[in-house]
């Protein structure tokens, strides 16, 4: 049975169930004595019937979605000849892929063994059987569910309460998805990272000075000694993020101060959206800009000034990253500065201070926790930034503090390790998860510290 047919039948049963429940409730209410009313509106009775029809069938569909493929696969593999089943796992996976492709109806080169063709037929037969089973299950469960619920509908039934508690359960489940996402991130990255750290010791990873992620595909291959010391990557990340922060922080802070203290509403209304535009530009566009406009400019400038600026220099990537973070710093600082009460400024001005003295000595110290929090958040964004550095920074891990040279960062290495074709559990691919875990932990720490700083040192002005 086709999945779309099953879905249509399911929806049709639910709609019929809704109207049946509603109709029955209406019939009851018409038969009641004058002046008495039912507890719930007829539509709630309809929803109640629909609910009971929907949920059991939904469970069946989820079971099919999650388990069906594996069941069919197990049966197909069990049907293969014994010597084929004894093959190593990678070869078996390739064979399974072939079977899948043939089962989907693609033409092959005609060199398939008969058992592969038989296996493809068996896979199709298994799939058809299972989808037929699902169709029957959905029809039976939804009709039975609707009928049983329909029988419960009468004049005294409090359908609204049932429906509303179901809605509350749905809401709780939706809210838990956020927690599940965090748990999912932590576990998936943690799980693969543990596998990585079983192959490469944690100490070597965190403190090793040599990053060259080569692994042998065959046992006798040259260049099979891989070293996974991540310190060059950390250094590169820090350097590029540092350059970005050096650019973004002073300019962003001064922009926020100038816009909130020295300009009128009209100028603000023009300049602020302009800066918001910078915040909305996708980072891949910044990467293109960095690689094709800023880097050549820097290189030419370096040539004319006499020193060698690499075309993938940390300076170029850091410059563009600074432009990207600028609106972030500026808008957070702006909010914080505006939240300092006017009374403090007025008091300072009243005592004879100039505007700049007021800002430097009264407003900024009052706003400092918020600004520091914003600075940390911007730093965490800079560290986690990927596309700008992938397109504008280099790939070779060098230990250097010279911003004119090409360096690589943690995020670039994650991308290059995973975009190539590698087996999923080679140390090379797993290293990406190790790096991802480090990145996640560092940004999480920065965010938590930022929130703590803001919360702890923020002054409460009534």
């Amino acid at each position: 049975m086709r999945l779309s047919t099953i879905l249509l039948i399911y929806i049709a049963v639910l709609i019929v169930g809704y109207f049946a429940g509603r109709q029955k409730a209406l019939a009851f209410s018409h038969g009641m004595d004058e002046g008495r009313t039912m507890h719930s509106l007829p539509m709630y009775h309809g929803y109640y019937v629909m609910m009971w029809g929907a949920i059991p069938a939904l469970v069946a569909m989820l079971a099919y979605f999650f388990l069906g493929d594996d069941l069919v696969l197990d049966r197909v593999i069990a049907g293969l000849p014994d010597d084929v089943r004894a093959l190593p796992e990678s070869r078996l996976n390739l064979l399974v892929n072939d079977i899948r492709v043939i089962a989907a109806g693609a033409e092959t080169s005609g060199m398939s063994e008969p058992y592969i063709l038989a296996a493809a037929d068996s896979m199709n037969a298994g799939r058809d059987f299972l989808s037929l089973l699902l169709g029957l299950a959905v029809i039976v469960l939804s009709c039975a569910g609707c009928y049983i619920a329909w029988r419960n509908v009468n004049g005294k039934f409090r359908a609204r309460n049932r429906v509303e508690s179901a809605i509350q359960v749905l809401l709780i489940m939706a809210a838990s998805i956020a927690v599940l996402t965090t748990i999912g991130i932590v576990f998936s990255v943690l799980f693969e990272s543990i596998r990585f750290f079983q192959k490469v010791p944690l100490f070597d990873f965190l403190f090793g000075l040599n990053w060259s992620p080569q692994t042998a595909i065959r046992a006798d291959q040259v260049g099979s000694s891989g070293s996974f010391g991540a310190v060059p990557l950390f250094l590169g990340t820090l350097m590029i993020s540092g350059i970005a922060m050096i650019i973004a922080l002073p300019i962003g802070l001064m922009v926020a101060i100038y816009l909130s203290e020295y300009t009128t509403g009209r100028v603000r209304a023009v300049v602020k959206p302009l800066l918001e535009v910078l915040a909305g530009i996708p980072t891949v566009v910044y990467g293109y800009f960095a690689a094709l406009t800023v880097a050549p400019l820097l290189r030419d400038f370096g040539l004319s000034a006499g020193f060698q600026i690499s075309s993938e220099s940390a300076l170029g990537a850091g410059l563009v990253m600074g432009i990207m973070i600028l609106p972030f710093v500026s808008s957070i600082s702006d909010d914080v500065i505006n939240s300092v009460p006017q009374a403090m400024r007025d008091g300072s001005l009243g005592l004879g201070a100039t505007r700049s003295e007021t800002i430097r000595r009264v407003v900024l110290p009052a706003a400092l926790p918020g600004i520091v929090g914003g600075f940390l958040l911007a730093a965490s964004r800079a560290i986690g930034e990927t596309m700008i550095v992938v397109m504008a920074a280099g790939l070779a891990a060098k230990m250097t503090i010279n911003p004119l040279e090409a360096v690589t960062t943690v995020t670039v290495q994650i991308v290059t390790l995973l975009v190539g074709d590698q087996e999923f559990d080679s140390p090379k691919t797993l290293a990406a998860f190790g790096l991802g875990l480090t990145l996640f932990v560092v940004t999480l720490m920065l965010n938590i510290i930022a929130l703590r700083v803001v919360r702890k040192y923020r002054e409460q002005y009534e």
Binding site: F66, D69, R160, Q168, L171, A174, A175, I177, A178, V179, T182, G184, I185, S188, V189, F191, M254, V255, Y258, L259, E261, Y262, V271, L274, L278, I281, P282, T283, V284, V285, G287, Y288, F289, A291, L292, I323, L326, T354, R355, S356, I359, R360, S380, R381, E385, T386, M387, V390, T411, I414, V415, L418, V419, F424, F433, G436, L439, T443, L444, N447
Partner: protein, 438 residues
């Protein structure tokens, strides 16, 4: 002996204070004007960043919206197309149209001889020309035997040369065209056989190795499917979660944990979400790689915290009197929220959703992780077909050395920015039109 002055130093005369203050004023005012100048310069520097950025992108990309075409007199030779005279579609589709193109070009330049020169001549026209001819013949078999003048798409090197030539720049120095080709091109120009037309290929075709035939349609469709999946998952989930957290959640440790989680998730780098998608969706659930479905799921997880935070803000903005009035009239808490609070908070929620989607449109890093870097030529028919996405297409094209790809990348960036501008403008419009000040 106590100095007379030291006793008075505690209570200075007002005249002395005034003198001291006035002496320091000049320095203070000067520092004030320096500070103000710094602020102004910072604003000017930021604005000039924006202006410089847009000017550079637009100046690199606007040329990609036109495409060079060459007018060639084509003789639909029946001996080449249908040697046995039949007009059956299988015969027509397999005919040697490349021969037709070569013959037509040779007829225009009869003096060209030698294999090398003939190959250079054939390279003037795009490799897609054969398919254009084939489509024409299959649509109208009656043209067989006739002569017609046909505008073929020019090769991307010719396109680059012609655009530089028309702008009056020194086009010959790029060195990628042979001298013989430059001569022929000059002849074609003088005969008026080279023309620039609007580049519809860019908007209607998918990716290609030949720059003149590369377009963003497949990538745009992939992005559209992804955003559809993302919106249809993230918006209901986000609204439901925010309703629960604002209205029904008890104030205990678990709910605090959920709130902290959501705030942290909003700041996690996008590449970590890509790793999550890779490990869970592709590895564990075996969903198809490169499918907009997986991309949409990852983007939905990324956008969810943003939508939850924005929706919570919108719900908080609805005054409690609305809820209490509904409850007072006998509504249940769920009814009060769904029938009264939700419609009033909806404009704010939609604004937050549109802004979240606009951010998701530009995300590339998680898509690279789940495998959308493949070279996909056809547009996806369903969200389960392998596809690319617009930002990924920009990333892939940015690596190509041809000048024509560089201008197409900038043009694709312009299209992407236009979409984002429309989305942000509609969010702002929505907010200004429907948001109420209580």
């Amino acid at each position: 002996m106590v100095d007379d002055r030291s006793q008075n130093s505690v209570m200075r005369s007002s005249a002395e204070t005034r003198k001291r203050v006035e002496a320091s004023l000049r320095g203070r005012y000067r520092r004030e004007s320096w500070f103000k100048t710094f602020g102004l310069m910072a604003v000017l520097v930021s604005v000039s960043f924006v202006v410089f950025f847009f000017v550079s992108i637009v100046s690199q990309g606007y040329t990609a919206f036109t495409q060079t075409y060459i007018q060639v007199d084509v003789y639909f030779d029946p001996d080449v197309i249908t040697p046995d005279g039949s007009r059956a579609p299988e015969v027509l589709s397999k005919a040697n149209y490349l021969r037709l193109v070569k013959d037509s070009l040779a007829a225009m330049f009869p003096e060209v001889s030698g294999r090398k020169n003939k190959r250079l001549l054939n390279r003037l026209v795009s490799t897609g020309a054969t398919f254009e001819l084939r489509d024409r013949v299959m649509a109208e078999p009656d043209v067989i035997g006739s002569k017609a003048s046909w505008w073929f798409l020019a090769d991307d090197e010719i396109d680059t040369w012609f655009k530089q030539y028309e702008r009056g720049e020194d086009a010959e120095s790029s060195g990628r065209l042979a001298d013989a080709q430059l001569d022929w091109l000059q002849q074609l120009v003088s005969q008026g056989r080279l023309e620039q037309r609007f580049n519809t290929v860019f908007f209607t075709s998918g990716d290609s190795r030949d720059a003149e035939m590369a377009g963003i349609w497949a990538a745009a469709k992939g992005s559209f499917f992804m955003l559809l999946v993302c919106m249809s998952i993230a918006f209901p989930l986000g609204v439901a979660a925010s309703i629960y957290l604002e209205e029904f959640a008890p104030r205990n440790r678990w709910v605090d944990l959920i709130e902290v989680n959501i705030n942290n998730l909003a700041a996690v780098p996008s590449i970590v979400f890509g790793l999550l998608g890779l490990a869970v969706f592709i590895n564990f659930l075996s969903l198809p790689r490169s499918a907009p479905l997986v991309g949409g799921l990852v983007l939905a997880l990324m956008t969810l915290p943003t939508i939850i935070i924005a929706s919570r803000g919108a719900i908080t903005a609805v005054p409690p009197s609305i809820r209490e009035a509904a409850l007072g009239l006998g509504a249940s808490p769920v009814q009060a929220v769904v029938h009264h609070v939700l419609p009033l908070a909806m404009p704010g929620m939609l604004t937050g959703a549109i802004l979240g989607i606009a951010r998701a449109l530009g995300e590339t890093a998680p898509l690279l992780m789940i495998g959308m870097v493949a070279f996909i030529v056809e547009a996806p028919q369903t969200p389960l077909d392998p596809s690319s996405a617009l930002p990924v297409q920009i990333y892939l094209w940015a690596d190509s050395p041809e000048r024509a790809f560089a201008e197409r990348t900038a043009a694709a960036i312009m299209v992407l920015l236009a979409f984002l501008l429309v989305m942000n403008a509609s969010a702002v419009w929505l907010r200004s039109k429907y948001e109420r000040r209580w």
